[in-house]
């Protein structure tokens, strides 16, 4: 059984895993945020997610700019599969698909441009360095890789889409993360740090390197009852400036963003949960002038399968994802 599962996962990762794209456009999904608290031993989690995002406001520094040459939106679906290999080690992978990644222009006669298709592949491995069940404290570290095996260099009517509309980032990325969680009865407080480094894209058409990404998230969660919980997340995001050919710095790239992400989590049935969480930017500082994300909302379903014994993931893990 164990060997079969391992073969399944290896095949799955090689053949199908895809994930989110991240690009110079605003509001693309950020990787590595699924099931950050680790997965219980021999528990399999399957989580399909849908996300809608809209970006229509330009910022110069932390000031809103009145220009509006274009606006973007996307509809993104993904599926995440995670498995607890042993009590401390877990593995997680994601596949994602952009239903659309659309840019509309405020230019006469310019038609909207739409990219669509599979994004990148992502695999994360998490290890619980500290798992103290008496003090309800855990410290989990993780490393991950994002493989640019999705759709890149996409064309519409023989015209290549700009890099911001390509479904795949086109870049091999590595990430590392640390997660800490402390429980206090019905409350949970958590912290997560995340860093991602992108390799240079060197495709037939594009020569580009995304700036490094650093994230810090503070979570607080409360179990209203056994079926409903609430999570509030404050996320700080720092992205460095990008580089184009000949190491030229893209001055209007990167910046800082603070978002508020409230989440309601409902467990309507055994081993099944529904989560809804908007992504609300509360502070933006953009290098140069850039389009920024206005609003995003996600709907996530999670089904757990306990392959070890009759022990439910949702009852144990409470609310923090």
């Amino acid at each position: 059984m164990r060997k079969g599962l391992l073969i399944f996962f290896i095949l799955y990762f090689i053949l199908f895993i895809k994930a989110q794209s991240q690009c110079c456009g605003a509001g693309n999904p950020i990787s590595g945020f699924e099931n950050v608290s680790g997965i219980p031993y021999k528990t399999l989690l399957i989580s399909p997610t849908y996300k809608y995002s809209i970006s229509d406001t330009y910022f110069t520094g932390n000031e809103k700019n009145s220009i509006s040459p274009d606006k973007m939106n996307y509809n993104f679906t993904s599926i995440s599969i995670a498995y607890g290999i042993n009590p401390r080690l877990s593995i997680q992978g994601q596949i994602g698909y952009f239903i659309n990644k659309t840019k509309k222009y405020n230019i006469s006669d310019w038609k909207p441009m739409r990219g669509f298709g599979l994004g990148d592949a992502e695999i994360n491995v998490m290890y619980a360095v500290i798992k103290n069940i008496f003090k309800d404290f855990s410290l989990i570290t993780g490393v991950g890789i994002k493989l640019p095996i999705g759709v890149f260099d996409q064309e519409v009517n023989n015209v290549k889409l700009p890099i911001s509309l390509q479904p795949s980032s086109g870049s091999l990325k590595f990430n590392a993360s640390v997660f800490m969680n402390k429980k206090f009865n019905e409350f949970n407080v958590s912290f997560r740090g995340f860093a991602e480094i992108a390799n240079r894209i060197k495709s037939q058409n594009f020569d580009y390197k995304y700036g490094n990404l650093y994230l810090m998230s503070f979570y607080g969660s409360y179990n209203i009852n056994k079926k409903i919980s609430f999570v509030a997340q404050i996320r700080y995001e720092y992205r460095g400036k990008s580089l184009r050919e000949n190491e030229q710095i893209v001055e209007s790239s990167g910046g800082q963003l603070i978002s508020f992400i409230p989440e309601i989590n409902i467990i309507p049935a055994k081993s099944f949960s529904i989560s809804v969480y908007p992504d609300i930017p509360i502070y933006k500082y953009m290098n140069g002038t850039q389009i920024t994300n206005k609003f995003a909302i996600s709907l996530k379903l999670t089904k757990s399968f306990n392959l070890y014994r009759n022990n439910e993931y949702f009852e144990n893990s409470k609310t923090v994802k």
């Binding site: 230019i107 023989n158 893209v250 209007s252």
Partner: protein
């Protein structure tokens, strides 16, 4: 023994035959029946979010036109497209047009400078 060596040579020959492929897209001088006569832009120095028309003139039968920009955005199709770039894409950008038919192709590039915002 000789037969085996002969088989190896035949196999190697077949592999080499199929491994070699003519690179039609790399030509910038025009080959065969397809040739780009000119590739021009109405403006080659632009402010951000200001668009310009880029036109290709080519000769050949049954031509298809492909366009790509290393930075910035293209809109339209065929012999004429429009180009513009936002703040992400200031600097000297390259637009490539490839004209092709069933047998041949030709490519040309044009550079457009996008001034800082």
């Amino acid at each position: 023994m000789k037969k085996r060596i002969l088989h190896i040579f035949i196999l190697a020959g077949l592999i080499l035959l199929f491994a070699c492929k003519k690179d039609n897209d790399s030509s910038s001088d025009g080959t065969g029946e397809v040739e780009i006569i000119s590739l021009s832009a109405a403006d080659t120095v632009l402010n951000v979010w200001v668009n310009t028309k880029i036109t290709v003139v080519a000769k050949g039968d049954g031509l298809e036109y492909s366009w790509e920009a290393d930075h910035g955005e293209l809109n339209g199709s065929g012999v004429q497209v429009e180009y513009m770039a936002g703040t992400c894409c200031t600097g000297i950008n390259t637009i490539t047009c490839t004209v092709s038919n069933n047998t041949n192709s030709d490519s040309k590039k044009i550079k457009i400078r996008i001034l800082p915002f």
